[in-house]
């Protein structure tokens, strides 16, 4: 019966570290931390001795040296005399550019394909199923190479568009696809363009205020104000300012008559960008189609029937009942697809598009031999992007998660 009176804590024994649940987790954590530190120290030690044996060191000084290579597709001013840092920024902007373009087109494609796969039309549904399965089951690298080959082989010499009496006229007078890439109009801004942009920003605020006002009036008084006024408020003031100020924002068309050998002016989108953009959109579109399909199927049929029973029209059923519930399911995987596009855009190197992996992780690395530094920076960039996107996703998930007790 001594167990009953045993109230004083037993003296600490060493075996309690492993047998007593109060201490065991601490022991395990200490061992894990110790092993990790030993492992790290071993790695760093190897690194230091390997580097000193090869006569190298870790230094980021090379970033200020002139890069000495050219980049065709760029969004900011850059020459071969610019620094490696500048080249890296060109690469970062190119990565963001193709990722953004890819996200937009992949979403459009994916939503269309996902909805059509659920449509009552047997033939279209089967066609979309073939599209989805074909693209999901073949590596993205092969698709990028296929699109790269396709884009490289298409497009004739610019000569056929040139002169006063060209063999081929430009599409809509503004687009021409040649072996250099896609020529299209560029946007040029005059001195008073700021005014137009400011007015547009103000009308965005006003338009959304109107939408909010319509909703409040509806909820408070039951009166339905015209919702479509949103669009005139959004665009009319900016267009009026544009006309009054004499078109400060204009388009510069590709010029086919100025030069005998090439199309001048306008914006040239290089072939590598087109190939990568198309491949990423069509590949990721297939995945997004599956997410969209799953999201729509996740809304139970009873919801639609309930809305119909309440007398809602089909488009209101869609926008007020089905879509809000489907989006809750669709958006998280959609955002991780956006993340995938960003990460897959690192394959740009195989079609010769100058993204961050191709500039900093490719040419700069090869020229300077600073492998560790370059790859660390590239990884940091992707890590930042993906942490930002997943932070945004967490915020969204919190805001739409079902409020349970």
């Amino acid at each position: 019966m001594s167990a009953i009176s045993d109230e004083t804590a037993p003296a600490f024994r060493l075996s309690m570290l492993i047998n007593d649940t109060r201490y065991r987790s601490l022991t395990f954590q200490a061992i894990a931390l110790l092993l990790l530190i030993i492992f790290m120290a071993y790695m760093v030690n190897n690194l230091i001795s390997n580097l000193s044996a090869a006569g190298l060191n870790i230094s980021y000084g090379f970033l200020d040296d002139p890069a000495g290579y050219d980049v065709n597709q760029r969004l900011i001013e850059y020459t071969s005399q610019s620094t490696h840092t500048r080249a890296a920024f060109v690469g970062i902007l190119n990565t963001l550019l193709v990722a953004f373009l890819g996200c937009v087109t992949a979403t459009v494609l994916g939503v269309i394909a996902g909805v059509l796969r659920l449509s009552g039309n047997w033939l279209t549904a089967k066609l979309m199923a073939v599209y989805v399965e074909a693209f999901r089951n073949v590596p993205v690298l092969i698709w990028i190479l296929i699109f790269g080959t396709f884009v490289t082989l298409s497009g004739g010499p610019p000569r056929q568009f040139l002169g006063d009496d060209p063999e081929r006229s430009m599409f809509l007078g503004a687009f021409a696809f040649t072996n250099r890439g896609l020529h299209m109009p560029s946007i040029v801004t005059g001195s008073s363009a700021v005014a137009v942009i400011m007015i547009f920003l103000v009308s965005i605020v006003a338009a959304f205020w109107w939408r909010y006002h319509v909703k409040q009036t509806l909820y408070n008084t039951g009166k339905l104000l015209p919702g479509w006024v949103f669009w005139p408020i959004l665009i009319v003031p900016a267009i009026l300012t544009q006309l009054v100020l004499g078109n400060p924002i204009g388009l510069e068309m590709p010029d086919t008559t100025a030069n005998r050998f090439n199309i001048q002016g306008g914006l040239l989108i290089g072939k590598p960008l087109i190939a990568l953009w198309l491949a990423l959109s069509v590949y990721t579109g297939a995945f997004i189609a599956e997410n969209v399909r799953a999201g729509i199927q996740a809304v139970s049929k009873g919801q639609t029937e309930a809305a119909n029973a309440l007398g809602l029209r089909p488009n209101r059923t869609m926008s007020l009942v089905v879509l809000p519930q489907a989006l809750r399911v669709i958006i998280p995987p959609l955002i991780s697809q956006y993340l995938n596009i960003t990460k897959n855009s690192s394959l740009a190197i195989v079609v010769g598009y100058a993204d961050i992996t191709a500039t900093l992780g490719g040419i700069t690395l090869n020229q300077t031999g600073r492998a560790i530094e370059c790859i660390l920076l590239v990884m940091l960039f992707y890590l930042t992007i993906s942490l930002l996107i997943s932070a945004a996703m967490n915020v969204y998930n919190k805001s739409v998660s079902l409020k349970e007790r």
Binding site: L123, P139, I372
Partner: protein, 432 residues
């Protein structure tokens, strides 16, 4: 009342039922199906016509390309002569370069039977794992397979895989002896015993080099679709246990262990695989002990395994989180310790839930093995981009080669995903 039934009182009553009329032509058979499925409304009809047009465009391009295809030519010029201006594929490149596409450029030709045999045995070894109604004896093949496949692919003395297997077997025996006391003890004892056995056996293999030896093949000579298969199978099977450990670590109450796992998983998932492959090809060598050189294939296997284990860990974490809290509490109330509860109650259920996700990761990983071509390894894509398209004989035969590569990957990945859907249906225990 009965006298009303005289023949004169009844005008006309039919005594037998009429035969049923066939339904109207628009409500039966093909016409009904067409009306309901293809032409139910005007937008639907437009969609049908658009789809028919798309199918026509695709088929009118692809069918003559395949039917006119040339299967027997020694180079692209001969192929074009045979085609004589007609549109057709030059599939002769696949026939002529078949060994290169499958085995790579440097694998010894008289040893092609070895990877082929390894591939057939792979199917045998995987079958009992995939289909539970096959005889359990086949699992013996699965156990021996990794060692056998290594011996077949890389060659060398047979004693190397035999002693490796022996060490693993000794380790397992020690584990089963000790696991009754505690799981940690069993695991530790097993690992120590295996390491000891390997160290002792090392003396045997050193002295029996060349006994019963197959011709040794260097890692850098592996190539073609075989390389994709090697990387895919090895990395998926290695990353499963690592992924389980990482997922458990991330769910753990121990803060330090949890954070080690979180940082590792989020770091790996945040960077593209290609940067990890760059690490494998140019950076990882700096972290090995000075003076040692590991071959590229091993470094690549390490990095791809780390990569996929982070993804598998997230999938399994989802499975763990989906289990009702009561399952964990049930384990506790039965007096099971952590390892027992996990092994006997939690993981079997969590892994079952995670199967579709794990298969998705496996398919994605298998597709991603093509990225090794970017760090100039000659897998299927690397072979096509490098030696074949760069040769004077076959430069310009793009569509046939890419089509072949796409088809090969499609067949493998599509069958895996179909298997996963079948398994999901089979394992579904909810009664719907």
């Amino acid at each position: 009342m009965s006298d009303q039934h005289t023949p004169a009182a009844v005008a006309y009553v039919r005594t037998e039922t009429l035969p049923e009329l066939p339904p109207p032509a628009s409500e039966a058979g093909l016409v009904k199906w067409l009306r309901e499925n293809l032409f139910s409304s005007i937008p639907n009809s437009i969609l049908t016509i658009l789809s028919l047009w798309a199918i026509y465009v695709i088929l009118s391009g692809v069918i003559p390309w395949i039917t006119n295809g040339i299967w027997d030519a020694s180079n692209i010029r001969e192929c074009r002569e045979l085609l004589n201006g007609a549109s057709g594929g030059c599939f002769a490149v696949i026939a002529e370069r078949w060994p290169q596409l499958v085995f790579g450029i440097a694998y010894p030709q008289d040893a092609y039977w070895r990877p082929s045999l390894a591939f057939v045995l792979l199917l045998v070894a995987v079958a009992p794992v995939l289909f539970s109604n096959l005889p359990r004896m086949l699992l013996a093949v699965t156990l021996v397979y990794p060692f056998l496949a290594y011996w077949l692919l890389w060659g060398g003395s047979i004693f190397i895989p035999i002693t490796a297997f022996g060490g693993a077997a000794i380790g397992y025996m020690v584990y089963t002896r000790l696991v009754a006391q505690s799981f940690a003890m069993g695991l530790l004892g097993g690992v120590v015993a295996a390491l000891l056995a390997w160290w002792v056996f090392g003396f045997i293999t050193d002295n029996t080099r060349g006994v019963l030896a197959l011709e040794a093949v260097a890692s850098r000579d592996m190539g073609g679709f075989m390389l994709n298969m090697i990387l895919g199978t090895v990395c998926v099977s290695l990353s499963l246990p690592i992924g389980i450990v990482l997922a458990l670590g991330r769910q753990s109450d121990m803060l330090i262990i949890k954070w080690i796992c979180v940082v590792f998983i989020e770091f790996i998932r945040g960077v593209p695989l290609i940067t990890l492959l760059f690490v494998a090809s140019v950076v990882l060598a700096y972290f090995f002990p000075p003076g040692t050189t590991q071959d590229l294939i091993l470094r690549v296997i390490i990095m791809i395994t780390l990569f996929s284990s982070a993804y598998i860990a997230e999938v399994i974490r989802g499975g763990l989180a989906a289990l009702p809290r009561g399952q964990y509490e049930a384990g506790d109330s039965l007096g099971l310790d952590y390892a027992q509860a996990m092994r006997l109650i939690i993981l079997p259920q969590a892994l079952k839930i995670s199967i579709p996700g794990i298969v998705n990761v496996a398919v994605g990983l298998f597709k991603d093995t093509t990225l090794v071509s970017v760090i100039s390894m000659f897998d299927l894509v690397g072979m096509i981009r490098g030696p074949i398209l760069a040769s004077t004989d076959w430069s310009g035969v793009y569509w046939e080669l890419w089509g072949f590569a796409a088809l090969l990957f499609f067949i493998v990945c599509y069958s895996i995903s179909q298997y996963s859907q079948w398994l999901e249906r089979k394992l579904a225990t909810d009664h719907r």
